[in-house]
């Protein structure tokens, strides 16, 4: 594949941010990995923050879109949740690198990014809650969304630790958790 200069930069940045973190990744690292000149970076991005935000927004929007469609899908909560969790895991697994940036790096950069993170995670939790509130009361929906989102993040975290955890193994663990939750809420 023959990537455009901008895509080469985005790809290089994605890998480096997820490997080394925001602050340890230098513009010079990005351009050298992308094999372009230092100045070329600034043709496409205003700053390091800028390229980082573009990556963040991309992963977040994709995840939100995939989850949002379950707001309208009909079925029993168990089935919908199972599908939703599968979709979440698939999306996150596919974009492990970006997800790591999103879930792991955003909080530690500066106040602006911290606000962004809070906003974006709240968005995700809100989508979950909206879906759940079709079946449960307000308070239960809130607790359940925290329970599920927290579990998914923890699962993803475990996936980072045990590098060889496969998507199927994650799904299996998720089914067990969903089963417990499902039986619990009856």
């Amino acid at each position: 594949m023959n990537l455009s200069t901008k895509d080469k930069l985005l790809e290089a940045a994605k890998q480096l941010f997820s490997e080394k973190g925001y602050h340890e990744t230098k513009i010079s690292d990005i351009v050298s990995k992308a094999q372009v000149a230092q100045g070329t970076f600034y043709i496409y991005f205003k700053s390091k923050e800028d390229i980082f935000l573009q990556l963040i927004k991309k992963i977040h929007q994709e995840l939100l879109d995939r989850l949002s469609k379950y707001k309208e899908i009909s079925g029993n909560p168990q089935t919908i949740l199972t599908m939703l969790v599968e979709e979440f895991l698939e999306e996150v697994y596919k974009n492990r690198e970006l997800a790591q940036i999103f879930f792991g790096q955003l909080l530690g950069i500066n106040e602006e990014f911290r606000q962004l993170y809070i906003k974006k995670i709240s968005d995700i939790q809100q989508v979950l809650k909206d879906i759940l509130s079709r079946f449960y009361d307000e308070e239960s929906s809130a607790v359940l969304s925290a329970l599920i989102l927290g579990f998914l993040r923890q699962l993803f975290f475990n996936c980072l630790i045990e590098k060889n955890l496969t998507l199927d193994q994650m799904k299996r663990k998720a089914y067990i958790a969903l089963n417990i939750i499902d039986r619990g809420v009856c």
Copy 2:
């Protein structure tokens, strides 16, 4: 109270790290908040990393100690878990600032800190799993510990968003979640 110079620096660092994050906190900020000279910092700490690590190790050890004692306490899982979760919330709530550093900042600094974070979170999850495995099989314990720890982190995260969330409100949410889980695992 009349703090020692070292404690003045630790206290200033704690506040600044939790407010502005690791990278946005400059050593010059710390010494100016602690009202000591620039060079004084280096009498007590080798570097910014050093003072940060000292803070991290402190919060982690305290949390681990409080949780570990439940390994030996007898009772039914519901009771033990409730006590443990209360203790976790109390400890974390008491040290909100340090906890925010621990859960929010550590991943985004550098590879060394990332490894430390993984190690320390795994430690906590392991303690949880040890307690649970007295009552449940291996796989259930693993899933349950992820479920609970994930939920607690999510709860704590919500506490950061809605600044006025009280400890009692957090506990109430935790009881609901524990109830769901408890009914689910039967």
Copy 3:
């Protein structure tokens, strides 16, 4: 002449090191004399040590090359020695500034530089000894090389003291000394 930025820095460093010595020369002095920005220095050199070493290696290699060719030149010792000493004085006189750095500064910097100095002076003494050992026995060659090298350094030192000592006056003193030595070794 239009020097490259690197050469501007080397030239400025050479002058400053020989005037003020290694430790009194600040990187800020070098860049300000070279009329480039502070950061520019670090594009070309890792540190102050680095630029210093590059200068040292240059002067040493040039001197060694000029002396080494006398290993193969045929003639009687008196003639060879005279030519060699002339060459030494010319080279050193031409690069008075660098030579002063080499002979005067290297010992006083740190252990690493001290080792380098010992190695490099030994190299020079060895070349002298190799040339002499074609005519004299082992022990005489060793003593003679120390005698000649010591004298040349002392002469160079006198040149530094009496700023107006010309190359020809140094040569004249050298001839006298060589005469004494030549008559003495018969």
Copy 4:
């Protein structure tokens, strides 16, 4: 032996300056080696320069005194020179550490010390020349003093390189050199 605080500091400084050089030796090194407090240093010495100068002056004065007495001793040049060189080697060998500071470090510190060095070496060379001018004409005396002093410094330098060179071995080399010079000047 029970050294006074001042002597403990001088002794520690002597060792450290000769091992690590002037700039690499920190006041904190000196006081810690002398086992006194940081502030104690300033009771006895105005500054780092001050203690260094006191050491330098000591070695220089002792050397000068030992050499000066040969101005008045009668005898043939060969005998006088031999005794003088022996005395020089003994003095320098005895105070190897200080001598290394004197001959090796002084030039590389700053302009003030450079002037001092030039002055002090010239003093030594002058004493030599005064002694020699009782037997030889002006120009020969100048060359001879440079020849002898240069050789002695070179010999001392070799002693630093080959750590196990004994005083007797140095003397033996000196006799050979003096013999050559003696035969040469006739």
